[in-house]
C-alpha cells in the first residue's frame, strides 16, 4: 500500500520540479525574445550617419548623435553629483548609522528607492524648471542624481559592512582614530564593491526616461550647454516609438540597440569582475 503512495508523492515532486523549471525557462525565453528582436530590428537601421547626425524631417534620414551626446552629458553630471553624495551617505550609514538618525536616513533612502522615477521628475520640475522658466540638461541631470543617490548609498553601506570587524579592530588597536580606520582600511577594502555599485547605478540612470520627460525635455540639435533643453537616448526612443512613421520606428529600434547594448555590457562586465573577486 505504501508503495503506491510513495510513487504518487515522487510523481508530484517531479511534476513540481518541471513546473518551476518551466517558469525559469519562460523568463529566459522572454529575455532572449526581447534581446534578439532588438538586435534584429536595430542592426538593420544602424549606420555611422545615424550615430552622429541630428534628427531630420521624416524621410530624410537623420540620426541620434545629439541624443547620445545629451545622455552622456546628463549621466556624467548626475554621476558627479550623485556618486560623492551617495558614497558619503553610505559611509555615514555603515560607520555611524546605528542610532536613530542613521535609521531614519536608511528608511528614507529605501523609501526614495521605491518612489516612481516620474515623481522625481515632477519634483525637479517644481524645484528647478518652474523657477528657471525653462527645461534644461541641468534639471535632467539633477533628477537622475536624485535617483542615483539612495541606490549608491545603500550599496556602499552594504559593501562597507562586509569588511570584517577584525580589520577595523586591528587598526583601532594601533591607535588609529575612527575616521582614519574608515579612510585607510575600510574604504580600500570595500572599494571594488563600491565601484561595482556605482557602475550599476550609472547603468540604471542611463536607461531612465520618465524623470527626463519634462525636466530635460528634448532637442533636435547638438546642445553643449546644461542650461538648455537636452536630448537623451531614452526620450528620443519614446518619441520615435510613439510617432506614426515607420522610418522613426526603425530609428527607435536602432537607438534601443545602442542603449541596451551599453547597459548589458556594463552589467556583464560587473558580473565577470565581481565573480573573480569573491
Amino acid at each position: 500500500m505504501s508503495e503506491a503512495i510513495h510513487n504518487r508523492r515522487k510523481f508530484v515532486s517531479s511534476i513540481m520540479t518541471t513546473v518551476t523549471a518551466a517558469c525559469a525557462i519562460f523568463a529566459i525565453a522572454v529575455l532572449i525574445l526581447i534581446l534578439s528582436y532588438i538586435a534584429y530590428r536595430g542592426i538593420a537601421a544602424i549606420n555611422w550617419e545615424f550615430i552622429v547626425s541630428t534628427p531630420k524631417p521624416v524621410g530624410e534620414g537623420g540620426g541620434i548623435g545629439n541624443a547620445i551626446a545629451g545622455s552622456a552629458m546628463m549621466t556624467l553630471l548626475a554621476s558627479l553629483i550623485g556618486l560623492p553624495i551617495g558614497i558619503g551617505a553610505g559611509v555615514y550609514l555603515a560607520e555611524f548609522g546605528d542610532k536613530w538618525y542613521g535609521n531614519t536616513i536608511r528608511f528614507l533612502s529605501d523609501t526614495l528607492i521605491g518612489v516612481p522615477s516620474i515623481i522625481v521628475g515632477i519634483f525637479i520640475y517644481t524645484l528647478i524648471v518652474l523657477p528657471m522658466q525653462r527645461q534644461s540638461g541641468l534639471a535632467g541631470a539633477i533628477a537622475l542624481a536624485i535617483i542615483m543617490i539612495p541606490i549608491v548609498a545603500r550599496t556602499t553601506e552594504e559593501m562597507i559592512r562586509l569588511v570584517p570587524k577584525s580589520m577595523r579592530e586591528g587598526a583601532l588597536a594601533l591607535g588609529a582614530p575612527q575616521w582614519r580606520v574608515t579612510w585607510d582600511i575600510v574604504m580600500p577594502a570595500a572599494a571594488s564593491g563600491i565601484a561595482t555599485g556605482a557602475m550599476l547605478s550609472i547603468a540604471r540612470i542611463s536607461g531612465e526616461t520618465a524623470p527626463l520627460l519634462f525636466t530635460a525635455l528634448n532637442s533636435r540639435f547638438y546642445n553643449w550647454y546644461y542650461d538648455k533643453p537636452m536630448s537623451s537616448l531614452t526620450v528620443q526612443i519614446y518619441n520615435f516609438a510613439t510617432g506614426p512613421f515607420e522610418v522613426e520606428h526603425q530609428m527607435a529600434w536602432a537607438a534601443t540597440l545602442i542603449l541596451v547594448g551599453l547597459i548589458l555590457v556594463i552589467n556583464i562586465i560587473v558580473r565577470i569582475f565581481t565573480r573573480k573577486k569573491f
Partner: protein, 252 residues
C-alpha cells in the same frame, strides 16, 4: 617592581547581562600573565577592557578602575587613541590589512607620525619585523600582499604591526588558537623573547601554553577571577578547588 596595570573592582555588563564580577588584579612591568578558563568565562572580555576595545560595542558598560601607570584609563579625559598606541593588541584571528607586508607594519607608525623620514620608517619596519621573528621570511617580499603569507606568518605580521608603534603593554587574545603546532611554537618563543621589553597579557585556552610562556596565571570562571598565582604554583599546587578541577581536566 611596580605594577604596570592594576585593576580595581571591575564590573562589566553587556546590556542586562553581567560578564565580569568585581575583578581585582595587578600585572607587574615586564611580566607575562596568562589568562585561562573555560570558554565564555570572560577572559577575552577582560583583556579587551585594558585597551578599551569594548568601546566599539554600544551596549557595553564598565565600572571600577583600570589603572595603567597609575592612571585610570576610564577617566573621562582619557585619550583612547593614545591609550591604544600604548597598549597594543594581537587578535585571535590574524587580521592583516589589505595592503603590502611593509605597509601593514608601517601603518601604525605613519598614523602616529613616529618616523622622521623615509629611511627611519624603513628602519622601524625592519626592527619590528626582526623583533617579531619574521624579517628573514619576508624581507624579499615586503611589497607583496600580506594575504599571501601563511597563517602563522600573518599572525607574526600582526605582532610586528603591534610592536612597530612601540607599545608598553601587549594584549594577546588567543594568538595561536588558529595556528598549527609549528607556527604556535614560534609564537610562544616570541612571547618569551618579547617579555624582556614588554608587559604582556595573554589569553589562552591551552594550559600547556600558559605553563610554557607565563610568569603568572589567572584563572577565570563565569566572569569571576578565581585565582591568580605564579604559574608554577598554579599548575602544581593551586589554592582553589575550582582551579584544581579545571587544571586536572575534571571540567571545561
Amino acid at each position: 617592581m611596580k605594577s604596570k596595570i592594576s585593576i580595581k573592582n571591575l564590573d562589566f555588563h553587556y546590556g542586562p547581562n553581567q560578564a565580569l564580577f568585581d575583578i581585582n588584579l595587578k600585572i607587574k612591568e615586564r611580566e607575562v600573565m596568562a589568562f585561562i578558563g573555560p570558554s565564555g568565562c570572560g577572559k577575552s572580555t577582560f583583556i579587551r577592557t585594558i585597551n578599551r576595545m569594548n568601546d566599539t560595542i554600544p551596549i557595553a558598560k564598565v565600572s571600577g578602575e583600570v589603572l595603567i601607570d597609575g592612571k585610570d584609563i576610564y577617566a573621562p579625559k582619557t585619550d583612547v587613541v593614545s591609550l591604544r598606541r600604548k597598549v597594543g593588541m594581537v587578535f585571535q584571528k590574524s587580521n592583516p590589512f589589505p595592503k603590502s607586508v611593509f605597509e601593514n607594519v608601517a601603518y601604525g607608525i605613519r598614523i602616529n607620525r613616529m618616523h622622521s623620514g623615509k629611511s627611519d620608517l624603513e628602519d622601524r619596519v625592519e626592527k619590528a619585523l626582526v623583533d617579531a621573528a619574521l624579517w628573514d621570511e619576508v624581507k624579499d617580499r615586503l611589497n607583496s600582499s600580506a594575504f599571501g603569507l601563511s597563517g602563522g606568518q600573518q599572525q607574526r605580521l600582526c605582532i610586528a604591526r603591534a610592536l612597530a608603534v612601540q607599545p608598553e603593554v601587549i594584549l594577546m587574545d588567543e594568538p595561536a588558537s588558529a595556528l598549527d603546532p609549528i607556527a604556535t611554537q614560534k609564537i610562544e618563543e616570541l612571547v618569551v623573547e618579547l617579555k624582556k621589553e614588554y608587559t604582556i597579557a595573554i589569553v589562552t585556552h591551552n594550559m600547556q601554553q600558559a605553563a610554557r610562556v607565563s610568569d603568572k596565571t589567572a584563572f577565570f570562571m563565569l566572569g569571576k577571577l578565581i585565582e591568580v598565582n605564579p604559574t608554577e604554583i598554579m599548575f602544581t599546587n593551586p589554592e582553589d578547588q575550582l582551579t584544581e578541577d579545571y587544571i586536572t581536566g575534571r571540567f571545561g
